[in-house]
């Protein structure tokens, strides 16, 4: 009997599979199915509804926490729905199934001179995932989130309705299902507007900064004339150098500035290095592993700071892929964190409060001897989506190693972080979250937004067929 069979008894026959969040700190054993067509996906959801089995959609599993986990039901893996349905190279509009990845998208469009307006730090998330989490990139301050470049999409609700959603048609659903955590329906088809670029290269300007304060000042200075802006933060630096690091500003090249010309659009020019520091990158995580502790990261960060100071102001040209997908440079890098994995904790804080709150968080972590091994600063602007994480301010993403010994202390520490963020009027990002509770989410997002989301949930999924571990933990769905 195939998983697509309408008569399949999911409770008896669907296999169990242990799935993890990308950070590997949270896991769940679920029933699992990977449909090969949109019809099969709809059939599975219908069957689950009949059996009263909660369903969670999962793409590439790139959410760090429990957004695509379901310890009490069925996980429907949408990655086989990965066909590009049409590509219009004149207008730069791609029509794809929900399981197409960012990689699948850019590989098809770059040769025609188009690049996605918004990409995350890795090329592996699916369109369904990008839309459901409303991902952002290093240009959020300028281009907004992924959802702002979605032309329209089809949403199949658990009730069996297929809704075409755009800014004109079902606009309320459009603005809620984008960033809707996959809890309103299956995204079966998406049309995305891509950006025409004149070159396959970006000009990158690295800038070393000696503190978080200086990084903020430099960000504000550079914002008006940057296409991308991202800061690496040394979360172990202290005192006057608290939050030191390096900024990378990148700008699109005009055609007449591009030494490669059309050749730069070829996919073989849009590659990641195969070796890093002389090591074959596939095994590099093994060499990184001994350094993933406080002294080891301190050593690495010091080396990075020295390197940043040496390269300060030395502009260079880099492919879109090389600049955008830093997280893909080292395959399986997440394994370097060891058996307990890690959590990413990303805070979004209004501009006026951001520096003080982020400095406080860095200090709190250092005092607890649980520093983040990676810090990434980005600039954001608000958007029109219901569960938007973006604010007019800054975000800092921090990676914390989890071990059996520190887990409880780390969760307690994040509660202190969260209090500080909430006091500063901040928000969080569900794709990264593994720690927030319902009360914290209520305070971060406000009653009105959550009420709007829940009203939409009642309208599209009144029986609460779509429930994830994240939905249970953070939104109280059952």
């Amino acid at each position: 009997m195939t998983p697509s069979s309408e008569s399949m008894d999911l409770r008896k026959e669907a296999p169990r599979k242990v799935l993890d969040g990308f950070g590997r700190a949270v896991l769940a054993a679920s029933r699992y199915a990977a449909p090969e067509s949109a019809d099969e996906m709809a059939s599975l959801v219908r069957r689950a509804r009949a059996e009263r089995m909660p369903v969670t959609f999962r793409g590439s599993g790139r959410s760090y926490g429990d957004a695509s986990l379901n310890g009490a039901g069925l996980v429907v893996d949408g990655t086989k729905l990965n066909r590009m349905l049409s590509w219009d190279p004149v207008n730069g509009v791609a029509e794809v199934q929900g399981g197409v990845t960012i990689e699948g998208l850019w590989r098809r469009t770059i040769t025609d001179g188009y690049w996605p307006h918004v990409v995350p730090g890795t090329m592996f998330p699916t369109m369904g995932g990008c839309l459901s989490m409303n991902i952002h990139g290093k240009n959020n301050f300028k281009e907004g989130p992924f959802g702002e470049h979605v032309v329209d999409f089809d949403l199949v609700t658990p009730e069996g309705d297929q809704l075409r959603c755009s800014r004109e048609e079902n606009a309320d659903v459009f603005h809620t299902a984008i960033g809707g955590l996959g809890l309103l329906g299956a995204i079966t088809r998406v049309r995305v507007q891509l950006k025409k670029v004149e070159s396959g290269l970006l000009r990158v300007d690295p800038c070393a900064v000696s503190s978080l304060r200086e990084m903020f000042e430099e960000f504000e200075k550079r914002l008006p004339h940057s296409d991308y802006l991202v800061g690496w933060v040394d979360c172990l630096s202290e005192g006057a150098e608290l939050g030191r690091g390096e900024i990378h500003q990148a700008n699109y090249l005009h055609a007449d500035e591009d030494p490669l010309g059309e050749v730069g659009f070829h996919t073989e020019r849009q590659t990641l290095p195969t070796r890093i520091l002389g090591f074959p990158k596939d095994k590099l995580w093994l060499f990184m592993r001994p350094f993933f502790n406080n002294p080891g990261v301190r050593l690495i960060n010091t080396a990075k700071v020295v390197s940043a100071r040496m390269n300060h102001g030395k502009k260079y040209l880099q492919s879109h892929v090389g600049f955008a997908f830093l997280l893909d440079y080292v395959p399986n890098w997440r394994l370097a964190y060891g058996a307990g994995g890690f959590i990413q904790y990303q805070v979004f804080i209004p501009k006026a409060e951001a520096l003080g709150a982020m400095e406080d968080i860095l200090r709190m972590a250092q005092e607890a001897k649980l520093p983040s091994y990676l810090g990434v600063l980005k600039r954001h602007r608000p958007d029109a989506f219901c569960l938007s994480h973006a604010v007019d301010g800054y975000s800092m993403a921090m990676d914390y190693r989890v071990t059996a010994e520190n887990r409880e202390r780390l969760w307690a520490l994040t509660r202190r972080f969260t209090e500080r963020v909430l006091a500063a009027g901040g928000r969080f990002y569900f794709a990264k979250d593994a720690v927030l509770d319902q009360e914290q989410v209520r305070r971060a997002y406000g009653e009105e937004r959550l009420a709007r989301f829940k009203a939409m949930k009642e309208r599209l999924d009144p029986q609460h067929v779509l429930v994830s571990d994240l939905g249970r933990r953070a939104l109280g769905l059952a």
Binding site: R11, K12, R16, V18, L27, A28, A29, G71
Partner: protein, 248 residues
């Protein structure tokens, strides 16, 4: 390292080693789900438990594999979690000299092996995800060689031993403990009336040793009592052309 159990499922809890394990777990304060085919026997065991109030009874035939996924979920929900699964269900119908019965063979494979797989699959997935848990499988020294007396029983226990070893190799990296218990002769309904028994121990002795091993998390596959290890070694070393002439 000693691991206290808090919530356990014992399959085959209505008699023999399973019953004794259930009683001992209950006496330790563990919330126990008693699973077996015969409801009246389960009720009898339940009545004799130290902490009856935290134990529950579930009548289930392990050969009804399709019922396992839902029942497993229900029990875990009732217990509020799970950190120990004990599979002690087993049958060994008498197979006469010159008798070749597929019905009996199938029953042994279904109860001794397939039932174990049906129960251990959901438990293994759950334990891997929660990064802790213990699975105890009651196999047998009979799985060490294919004896002429009962081909299907030896086969089912050999397969169970191998299955448990594979599970252990799969799960130990996630902090999950898989214990294979290989008893010799135990004074249960299964052995009653058999001739030539020696080193016979009570089910309670077998249960005590099994749980002690599982608690310590040090010996993944053991003979009970330990001296059967020597017998197993000798039996394994006997050349096939000699073994086929033996009558046990």
């Amino acid at each position: 390292m000693s691991t206290p159990f808090t919530k356990a499922i014992v399959i085959g809890a209505s008699s023999g080693i399973g019953e004794s394990i259930a009683k001992r777990l209950s006496a330790e304060g563990v919330s126990v789900a008693l699973v077996a085919r015969r409801k009246e026997e389960l009720d009898r065991v339940h009545t004799g438990l130290v902490h009856r109030e935290t134990a529950r009874v579930y009548a289930h035939d392990v050969a009804r594999f399709d019922d396992v996924p839902e029942l497993f979920d229900r029990i875990v929900g009732d217990l509020g979690g799970l950190d120990l699964l004990v599979y002690a269900a087993g049958v060994m119908p008498k197979v006469d000299e010159g008798e070749y019965s597929f019905a009996k063979d199938r029953q042994m494979v279904e109860v001794n092996l397939l039932g174990a797989m049906a129960w251990m699959n959901p438990a293994a997935a759950r334990f891997e995800a929660q990064r802790r848990g213990t699975i105890i499988g009651i196999s047998s020294i009979a799985g060490e060689r294919g004896r002429r007396g009962n081909p299907a029983y030896c086969t089912s226990k050999a397969a169970l031993t191998t299955y448990l070893e594979s599970l252990r190799n799969r799960l130990s990296r996630y902090g999950v403990n898989v214990v294979t218990i290989k008893p010799g002769f135990v004074d249960t309904q299964m052995t009653r009336g058999m001739k030539g028994l020696f080193w016979l121990i009570s089910p309670d002795q077998a249960a005590e040793t099994s749980l002690s091993i599982a608690h310590d998390m040090t010996s993944p596959a053991v003979f009970v009592p330990a001296r059967w290890w020597l017998v197993a070694l000798i039996v394994r070393l006997i050349p096939s052309f000699v073994f086929r002439r033996l009558n046990f």
